[in-house]
Amino acid sequence: MLEESRVDDAIEPGRPASSDLATDSQEAISAEIDDLRRQYAEAAAEETQPRLDYPPYRSTILRHPTKDLHHADPETIELTAPAFGQRDVDALEADLTIQASGDPIGERIIVTGRVLNGDGSPVAGQLVEIWQANAAGRYIHKRDQHRAPIDPNFTGVGRCLTDSDGHYWFRTIKPGPYPWRNHYNAWRPAHIHFSLFGTQFISRMITQMYFPGDPLFDLDPIYQSVRDRRARDRLVATYDHEVTSHEENTGYRWDIVLTGSRSTWMDPEDRR
């Protein structure tokens, strides 16, 4: 009952493909995206984060706050962050290709980069979590019923701690694009979800990393919810042959910048 009444965008069992939600055409969604892009180009204010109110991504309609965010000065607790250590994360969790007895199917890749504070200082010893679909575009999540095969040798879940210089490193399989029910014939560009902590509570962020040159970028309302072109580009990893290793895997580099500073908040003016 509850599930039936929900506006949802996941491919689920027993739900007709032509739910209310999936009736809009890609053309209609793309036209909305173009409109919002045009409005943004005409407005003078630069945006670097996604719009919370972004109707082409239908599930935002009832889930975005309508009131402005309230500007607050962070209190002590918000200037500190939870700590994670070797007790929390096994070093092997960074390699998603060795979690089962067999090899997962797909293009083996390394994804690496640095997690930085806004002042350029590294976020050291902090938790990075990733999750993703397999090479066929299928998540092991029970609610994902996309008709692509599950890979018994791939969970798509990884964790690591950044090193003292802010570096993270994962070995995984390049995820495939997958369909969803935002509109008819809706497909997400291939992506890896990243969950990040900084040196302050207020740096907490979840985002998605994409692969260069994906033909689905223009069509995807989640990627396009970041209206600024340069800001969207910051979500795209770079192919890096230095990361690629001989006869092993191709390599991608992606740096992540969090808001917040090394320790306590300071005005940029106070820092050198």
């Binding site: 607790i77 999750w131 979800h193």
Partner: protein, 189 residues
């Protein structure tokens, strides 16, 4: 001389499929159920129609009962003793989240204690920050830096209500009783 500031990477929605990746056993138990000062912090995440959001995730970060902040590792594999101050819980099919924890103490003399809260959900393009304050006297509320700056009906959305050994705090993403969500300095739109 002002330092160069890097532009932050954009956030993106947590999506529908985080359930197999982010929530973990014990994530919602900052202290053991039988802890003498244990309290349940629970509530619903609701959308603009007042319907429950069954695919949201809530994280809390807090000082201990004495107001001390001692970030300790071990949140992902709790040992049952160390208080790490951090927890994570996904909402269930009814939109409810729940934590077992202790009441945060004031971090500074005269400050009202609160749980710092992060909200994620499918359909939410970026995380939201808010605070769940412990119930307090109206005088204390009026002089609090944040609560005092809000009109009465808005500040109410940031204060947990007491029900026996339970603290109730609902998160309304949209609508009449919409929760106050926070932006901090250094955050660009």
């Amino acid at each position: 001389m002002s330092a160069q500031r890097l532009v932050a990477t954009p956030g993106q929605t947590i999506g529908p499929f985080f359930g197999f990746a982010l929530p973990y056993e014990g994530g919602d138990q900052l202290v053991q159920l039988e802890h003498p000062d244990g309290v349940r912090l629970t509530g619903l995440v609701l959308d603009g129609d007042g319907d429950p959001v069954p695919d949201a995730m809530i994280e809390i970060w807090q000082p201990d009962a004495h107001g001390r902040i001692e970030p300790r590792p071990g949140s992902l594999r709790r040992d049952g003793y160390a208080f790490t101050g951090w927890g994570r819980a996904a909402t269930d099919i009814t939109g409810r989240y729940a934590f077992t924890t202790v009441r945060p103490g004031p971090t500074n003399e005269g400050k009202l204690p609160f749980f710092a809260i992060t909200v994620f959900a499918r359909g939410l393009t970026n995380r939201l920050f808010t605070r769940a304050y412990l119930p307090a006297s109206s005088d204390a509320i009026a002089t609090d830096r944040l609560l005092g700056s809000l009109p009465e009906d808005r500040r109410r959305t940031l204060i947990a209500t007491e029900d026996g050994s339970e603290l109730r705090f609902n998160v309304r993403l949209q609508g009449e009783e919409e929760t106050v969500f926070l932006a901090f300095p250094g955050e660009a739109p």
